[in-house]
């Protein structure tokens, strides 16, 4: 089936291939992890990123490696896009000691602080302060870093959205707000939660740029983000970019997502961001299907290794945890 072609661009083929790799890695990671969830290897809430890969990858691809990102409850994609090691991610989802958060965070708190992913967040909108604060810190340190703040469409109605963007706007903080509009907050369509046509219009209230783009076009995402990141870095303040997309799955692993019209779901499946990039690579850069298959095979192995790593990893020690509580509560536990 032919899909809408991607934006033409000057992005180098090697970069596109790298982005393809990351997107495919996310996809595979999620698909395999969902299987593991069904096998009870992974527990808790698990919100798959399948279908939204272009946003994380296009955005992180446009940023510097030392820029910050702040993620949402649907955070695996952002984590991988920012360069995380899937081994340490999967170990975290397993709750193992070797995971990014020592098994204490799990899916909803997956983070890779050392490499600039300040973390997922279980509170919708809760991470906006982290992004705005990180941008403020960068301004003070004059280290030229930008913070990319991934927000979900459900997040545009929460109070901190307003306070965070207003502060970023008046202080011209180096932050870019990416609204991933997948049209649903669990079962509630976004049209029931806002009275505007595009979420980007929220930007008008702060007199900052607000654009709405096809979030399944990784090249367009990359280009728009490059502009917004440049703008932020050069001191002109924040922007909002709404990126329209769709989740292929239910809200989380236990949600069949029946509230969505199957026809609409199908139509969006036809706009799959990975398929579109693959077609673009073929059509515009002469990449052979075999090359992509090779990449995907590599990825398969990578995920396989990651599963093995998670399986082989030890659980955190309960005794060590209990002994360590004073580190967090600052006194004997009584």
């Amino acid at each position: 089936m032919a899909t809408t072609p991607l934006t033409k661009s000057k992005i180098a083929k090697s970069k596109l291939l790298q982005m393809y790799r990351r997107m495919a890695l996310i996809r595979r990671f999620e698909e395999e992890s969902i299987k593991l969830y069904r096998l009870d290897k992974i527990r808790g809430y698990f919100h798959p990123y399948i279908g939204q890969e272009a946003i994380a990858v296009g955005s992180c691809g446009a940023a510097r490696d030392d820029d910050y990102i702040v993620s949402t409850h649907r955070g695996h994609g952002h984590c991988i896009a920012k360069g995380a090691d899937v081994k340490l991610m999967l170990a975290e989802l397993y709750g193992r000691k070797t995971g990014y958060c020592l098994g204490r965070g799990g899916s909803m708190h997956i983070a890779n602080v050392a490499e600039g992913n300040l973390g997922a967040n279980g509170i919708v909108g809760g991470g906006m302060s982290l992004a705005v604060g990180a941008a403020l810190g960068s301004l003070l340190k004059e280290d030229g870093k930008v913070a990319i703040n991934f927000i979900s469409d459900g997040g545009v109605s929460i109070g901190i959205f307003h306070e965070a963007i207003n502060l970023a706007a008046i202080w011209k903080l180096p932050v870019v707000f990416v609204i991933e509009n997948n049209f649903y907050a669990v079962s509630t369509p976004i049209s029931q939660s806002v009275s505007i046509e595009t979420l980007a219009r929220r930007a008008d209230a702060y007199n900052i740029p607000g654009t709405c783009i096809d979030g399944n076009d990784v090249i367009l995402v990359h280009e728009e983000m490059s502009k917004a990141i440049d703008r932020a870095r050069s001191g002109d303040g924040p922007s909002i970019i709404e990126m329209q997309t769709y989740r292929h799955t239910g809200h989380h692993c236990n949600d069949p997502g029946k509230y969505r019209d199957p026809k609409v779901v199908e139509a969006w499946m036809g706009k799959d961001p990975i398929t579109r990039l693959a077609q673009h690579l073929g059509a515009e850069h002469g990449v052979a299907e075999g090359d992509l298959t090779a990449i995907r095979d590599e990825i398969k192995q990578e995920i396989k290794d990651a599963i093995q790593f998670a399986e082989d990893s030890p659980s955190p020690s309960v005794d060590e945890f209990l002994a360590g509580i004073p580190d967090y509560s600052f006194e004997q536990n009584d």
Partner: protein, 331 residues
């Protein structure tokens, strides 16, 4: 006539009955209408009562709590839902500075008959931001009533009372209880606030526990009984108002008290109960009151760590043994 239904069904029945009884009762929250709520408590309400009385909201925890205050002041009876008690952190100004104080601040000339339904507790691997037990915040806020039912029977009867109450009620369910069953009468009934329920009688030690912990306390009591220690399990059901008399009556009989709560120990409501009992029944105590409570840590994701963070049956057993031994035996 009783039959066994689930805790979540009992709550659902209470909603149906009260909404049928009083057209000014209405309800809203995230995903409660079309989807019937994350734990299926509001299932079917939209069909019967329609979209004016059963509403889905955006993700806006401040106004979810706050709009209930305004709607209550003008005479309706909102039942607002906050998905996880953890998210009431986003509603605190509205609950504490508005709802709790309104009647007082206007000299009693306006009342606030609202219910905020929410759920708390750990046990599903939901980690630090979806597993808290925060009742102590609300108990420390004069003007709020705090309800934490442990059984289907109590859940139904207390929710009906909450809806009819003229003050703001924080109604905290437990995520692990929704699908547990219990005997519930066919006939209409309510459970009054401020009346503890002795869930098990015993003579050797009093265990005060609420919400999920009642069940752990009962399990512990069975184990203790096997070794000859008879524990009395008192479930206050409402923490504000608290039936301190019932607790003291039990303590005067057993001379020993163990308080069990899932919330972290430091600053938990157990300290308040312990202090109150001491003030009233110091001379009746044969051993120090002990608290078995959550550890002072954010909730970890890993299952074993999660289990280690909250009271387990064995912890209750051991503590009761120690308390009884200390009194009967050495030193």
């Amino acid at each position: 006539m009783t039959r066994e239904i689930q805790y979540r069904q009992a709550l659902n029945e209470a909603m149906f009955e009260e909404m049928r009884r009083d057209p000014l009762v209405f309800t809203y929250g995230e995903g409660i209408a079309e989807r019937g709520g994350s734990f299926r408590v509001t299932e079917g309400l939209l069909d019967e009562f329609g979209p004016m009385r059963v509403k889905d909201t955006p993700i806006s925890e401040s106004i979810i709590a706050g709009a209930a205050v305004g709607a209550a002041i003008v005479g309706t009876r909102p039942v607002a839902e906050i998905l996880f008690v953890d998210f009431t952190a986003l509603s605190m100004d509205q609950l504490v500075n508005q709802a709790a104080k309104y009647r007082f601040m206007v000299g009693g000339r306006g009342k606030v008959p609202m219910v905020l339904r929410t759920q708390g507790g750990s046990g599903k691997g939901l980690a630090a931001q979806h597993s808290q037990s925060l009742e102590a915040w609300f108990c420390h806020t004069p003007g709020l009533k705090v309800v934490m039912p442990s059984t289907a029977y109590d859940a139904k009867g207390l929710l009906k009372t909450a809806i009819r109450d003229d003050d703001p009620v924080i109604f905290i369910e437990h995520k692990l209880l929704y699908f547990t069953g219990g005997e519930v009468p066919e006939e209409e009934y309510t459970v009054p606030f401020g009346e503890a329920d002795v869930k098990r009688t015993g003579s050797d030690v009093t265990i005060v526990a609420w919400s999920l912990m009642v069940h752990k306390a009962l399990e512990a009591a069975e184990q203790l009984a096997a070794e000859g220690i008879e524990a009395e399990v008192v479930d206050p059901r409402t923490l504000v108002p608290l039936d301190i008399n019932a607790i003291c009556t039990s303590v005067r009989k057993t001379n020993r008290l163990v308080i069990v709560h899932e919330a972290c120990k430091r600053g938990g409501f157990g300290g308040d109960i312990a202090a109150r009992v001491m003030e009233r029944a110091f001379d009746d105590l044969d051993a120090p009151i002990e608290r078995v409570a959550g550890k002072n840590t954010p909730m970890p994701f890993n299952t074993e760590l999660e289990q280690a963070s909250i009271p387990q049956v064995q912890d209750i057993v051991t503590t009761c043994q120690r308390v009884c031994l200390g009194a009967k035996g050495a030193v």
